[in-house]
């Protein structure tokens, strides 16, 4: 019994090899990434990814952990970032080591959250969502009113290299900034994870599920929400500080509803129910945003479609889908899934490619400069006036859809069998 209890306690989240492994693995990956992707643009993308991850994790402290749907979370990141970029322009910056700057952003994000949270966390649900929207709009509007702080339309810029060198590092190159950002990412993610394991973090889940019952257990739902809100503001501010260091400029864009909305999208895409969900969401979204936007002008159409599909078909997000596969892997029945997945998902991908091909050709035909009929898609160059590309894409879409539709029941069947312990036999 003694030993049983010990293992139970450990598997519950105490420090053990098993619970530390994902963190050690992440740390090693963060160190190695720049050696795998060496180009400057890759490092820029990774920096952006890391900032988005911190921001999305902080957002999920509200949405996933606390059940608070915010439409104005960008404000706390933005204000943290603005403070940091202002500090860069002050005399005193010469005596502050740059790696400490995000902490200042965090403190200011937290101060703002502690003021707004005072009235916004009274109720969850629609009331909270509307107040967050209002405050978001209010502060975004302030950017053109309080020009001293928000710098009006052109924003505020600074120079990160004026800080005192940190062990001889002046943060002139992207790679140095990468390691600074990665370090903060790891620290913030670990702290946010640990927060979810504390009494207040556990009660945040309880209040999310049933605020009234939590009240009858001695906890004020409002105060529990307030604590999560302030903590989320702190980590959003850290993300803002990292943004300031990376881009050395902050504008109204960092505060506005578009940014607040896209972090909701990122978090939901990744999955709100799993701690690492927002991490997956941030990685996928940043890749789509950067890589896809190089390929097509209408990339946001595809991101929007992906979001709608996620909400409709996988409400637990990408991480949720990943987690569903743990059971078949543990049961050893995952082999049952391989073939059904191939015969369903490959046609589905062909269908999607066909559809996007049609959209691209149509978009080019409608919006290209007059007389310009040549376009390149999927490494093939053709004229949009030709009939063949239309036919090819249409056939791809229809046949892909038909095949995927035909094989989908097989996939569902395999899925059910794979989730039974005796799956192989039945």
């Amino acid at each position: 019994m003694q030993s049983l209890e010990k293992t139970q306690t450990r598997s519950d989240g105490g420090v053990s090899m098993k619970s530390a492994m994902p963190w050690i693995f992440s740390a090693v990956m963060l160190v190695l990434m720049p050696f795998i992707f060496q180009s400057n643009s890759a490092i820029t993308i990774m920096n952006q990814m890391a900032i988005t991850i911190v921001f999305a994790l902080s957002y999920n402290m509200l949405l996933g952990q606390g059940g608070m749907l915010s439409f104005g979370h960008a404000v706390y990141m933005g204000v943290g970032g603005f403070v940091c970029v202002h500090v860069m322009n002050w005399e005193i910056f010469g005596s502050i080591p740059l790696p400490l700057l995000p902490l200042l952003g965090g403190v200011f994000g937290m101060i703002l959250a502690s003021m707004v949270g005072y009235f916004s966390t009274r109720k969850a649900g629609t009331v909270f969502a509307m107040i967050s929207l209002g405050v978001g709009e209010l502060i975004a509007a302030c950017s053109v009113i309080i020009v001293v702080f928000f710098g009006g339309e052109e924003g505020v810029s600074g120079d990160r290299t004026y800080g005192i060198p940190f062990f001889g590092v002046e943060f002139l190159s992207q790679i140095e900034v990468y390691y600074l950002t990665a370090g903060w990412l790891l620290i913030s993610a670990l702290l946010m994870y640990l927060f979810s394991r504390t009494p207040i973090g556990r009660m945040a889940n309880a209040v999310r599920d049933n605020p009234e019952r939590a009240e009858f257990l001695g906890y004020s739902s409002r105060w529990v929400r307030y604590n999560s809100f302030v903590a989320a503001g702190f980590f959003a501010g850290i993300a803002g500080g990292l943004f300031a260091i990376n881009y050395e400029i902050l504008t109204e864009e960092n505060l506005n509803l578009t940014t607040s909305g896209s972090i909701l999208l990122v978090t939901f895409l990744g999955g709100v129910g799993v701690f690492f969900g927002p991490v997956v969401g941030a990685i996928v979204f940043t890749l789509l945003q950067t890589v896809l936007s190089l390929e097509t002008e209408i990339w946001s159409l595809y991101v929007g479609a992906l979001f709608v599909a996620t909400v409709m078909f996988f409400p637990s997000g990408l991480a949720g889908v990943m987690q569903l596969h743990i059971a078949p892997i543990k049961l050893g029945t995952w082999r049952l899934l391989v073939m059904p997945y191939i015969i369903t998902l490959v046609p589905a991908i062909i269908c999607i490619l066909g559809l996007s091909g049609l959209i691209e050709v149509l978009f080019h035909a409608r919006h290209a400069a007059i007389g310009e009929t040549e376009m390149t898609l999927f490494w093939v160059t053709f004229q949009h006036t030709e009939i063949l590309p239309w036919v090819v894409f249409a056939v791809m879409a229809v046949v892909g859809f038909w095949l995927a539709r035909k094989n989908a029941p097989q996939m569902m069947d395999a899925w059910h069998r794979a989730n039974k312990p005796d799956g192989a036999d039945t």
Binding site: E5, Q8, T9, D12, G13, G14, L194, F195, R197, T198, P199, I200, G201, R202, M203, N205, A206, D209, N210, E212, R213, A214, E215, F216, L217, G218, Y219, S220, S221, W223, V224, N227, A231
Partner: protein, 252 residues
């Protein structure tokens, strides 16, 4: 000795309708008190008034001699009063173990701590497991509470209610919608977990009421028409007329 729960001149109106029409009730320490009455008599409303789920219109309620006027539910809970609900009210997405552990947090002094790891506290883990053992749900420990059977959810609800160690326990129809064997199980459970505590319960099952309660109050149309020992209440002519005659007949 002050009473565990003292209610004086309690009234409650919803708009024009007066639901609770002047209740005086004193429940002693360690007493098992049942509140019975026909549907719509205001039993659940009385519960909701005592626990500050609804604000009262007039009158006073005191717990161990302390007036509860103006306190929020969580403050009343901290004074040692805990309740369950007529409709199962648990944390459906959290595990069974997590449900009970959350119920222990305040009582064990963790308050709004963000510097303790819940999983590192032996007292929390063992306390929660002891409760799970008591309510016979140790086997269901890691399941989401929402997937438990109805009787199991009711048992969990009682587990959550008693976990914090409150000395006044209020149960709102703990056996509602249960089969005979499930009812026996829950009654046995209530008997053991409320040992030495004050119990206030609303119940329709007369077998449960007369088997468990030390004293009974009969609530009819927002007024208590009789309070006393089970035998006295059973013999009371007004009670017979207003409620009990019909209820006992239906029970047999």
């Amino acid at each position: 000795m002050t009473a565990a729960l003292e209610i004086q001149g309690l009234r409650k109106s919803f708009g024009q309708t007066e639901i609770i029409r002047g209740i005086d009730l004193s429940i002693g320490r360690g007493e098992r008190h049942a509140i019975i009455g026909p549907n719509g008599a205001g039993k659940s409303t009385l519960f909701n008034l005592i626990t500050a789920r609804f604000p009262l219109s007039s009158g006073s309620i005191s717990l161990h001699g302390r007036n509860l006027q103006g306190l929020a539910p969580y403050q009343i809970n901290r004074l040692g009063l805990s309740r369950s609900f007529q409709i199962t009210n648990i944390f459906p997405k959290m595990s069974v173990f997590e449900n009970v552990r959350c119920a222990l947090l305040w009582a064990q002094g963790y308050r709004y701590s963000f510097w303790n790891m819940v999983s590192r506290s032996r007292a929390l883990t063992e306390g929660a497991e002891a409760i799970l053992d008591q309510i016979n749900l140790l086997q269901r420990r890691d399941l989401p509470a929402g997937v438990l059977s109805y009787a199991e959810q009711r048992a969990l609800e009682i587990g959550i209610t008693i976990a914090g160690g409150a000395d006044v326990i209020m149960l709102d129809e703990p056996t509602a919608g249960m089969s005979h064997s499930e009812t026996d199980y829950i009654v046995g459970l209530i008997r053991t977990v409320t040992e030495g505590k004050t119990l206030v319960m609303v119940e329709h099952d007369m077998g449960v009421v007369f088997g468990l309660a030390d004293r009974i109050s009969v609530l009819v149309y927002g007024e208590i028409i009789a309070t006393g020992k089970p035998a006295d209440v059973r013999a009371n002519a007004r009670v017979q007329e207003a409620y009990l005659g019909a209820a006992l007949e239906a029970d047999h």
